[in-house]
Symmetry: D2
Subunit: 99 residues, 4 copies
């Protein structure tokens, strides 16, 4: 099962600046070989359900290892059985309607 | 790693009424033996990360099997390494502050 | 336009314990006279769109006034034009399917 | 109060394809003169709290007018009092950590 997932991980108890933790999550996604795209309020990821979810778990583990005692994460995720769809497809289908 | 997770699964392409799909997810959580609590905009679940995530995946599989061609899900999830905390603890710590 | 909204406000830069800020948001909702229900990962609120959104803004203002320099909030919200629906209706429609 | 907001609006009861509704929301944001950026699982918006929230409401109204009887929306939103921050700043602060 393929999934497109929007990940927004927020460490608590480490002050207001969270960019180093988000950067570390990007290294996790990179290491996992998953297609991903940073945006201003999260990171979009696409891939096989199990691979994507394993990476999300690894992000939590890694951010705790960096010293964050608490993490709250918001995820949006989509699956479909009617057809294959990539992150790029989703953006393009909206842009086509805007022309 | 323990997790507290808020699950809100929305099937698309099956009309406006989604309660039968939410009910099916509750059966999945029940079968998994996970502590869970329905509320007006989702279901809170607590347990081991892998067990909870396996149940979330099973919910997607089951709702697709019921005929929904597309699903979009919103999840909030929290982990902490400083102490153990249950769903009941979270509610109580707020209620204490309200007294 | 009526709305059912799930609010999860997270103050950053104030340590790991956030219950006093959540409690303050409950006072804001109380003062606004809005029907609301605390759960383990947020608070459900129901009411007129403008009244609910004014209360959400007031929560942000109040939590900043309490000293939180940064807030990240996750909201789920639903509107419908086909029929009226309360928070209690939503829970009951799932529970009926589980009987 | 400035806000950075991630909007993901999902119409129900209109089939599996939602791109025309997302496109309409972009027209609403355009008309409102708000800075916004489409991504694969939502749209980031930045601006004054009241202007952004008025646009979110207008999106719901417009999508209902297009025929969607039910809408469920997921929003992430951030405010801060310690400093000004744009959507571009947020992405850059992570990218700097990745160099």
């Amino acid at each position: 099962m393929q999934v497109i997932l929007d990940l927004c991980l927020v460490p608590l108890g480490v002050g207001v600046s969270v960019s180093q933790y988000v950067a570390e999550c990007h290294r996790v996604l990179q290491e996992a070989g998953l297609k991903h795209q940073l945006h201003a309020y999260g990171t979009n990821i696409e891939g096989d359900w199990d691979a994507v979810m394993a990476a999300v778990k690894r992000c939590h583990e890694r951010v705790h290892e960096m010293g964050a005692p608490r993490i709250t994460t918001t995820i949006k995720l989509g699956t479909r059985t009617d057809r294959e769809q990539t992150m790029a497809d989703k953006v393009q289908s909206v842009e086509k309607k805007l022309q």
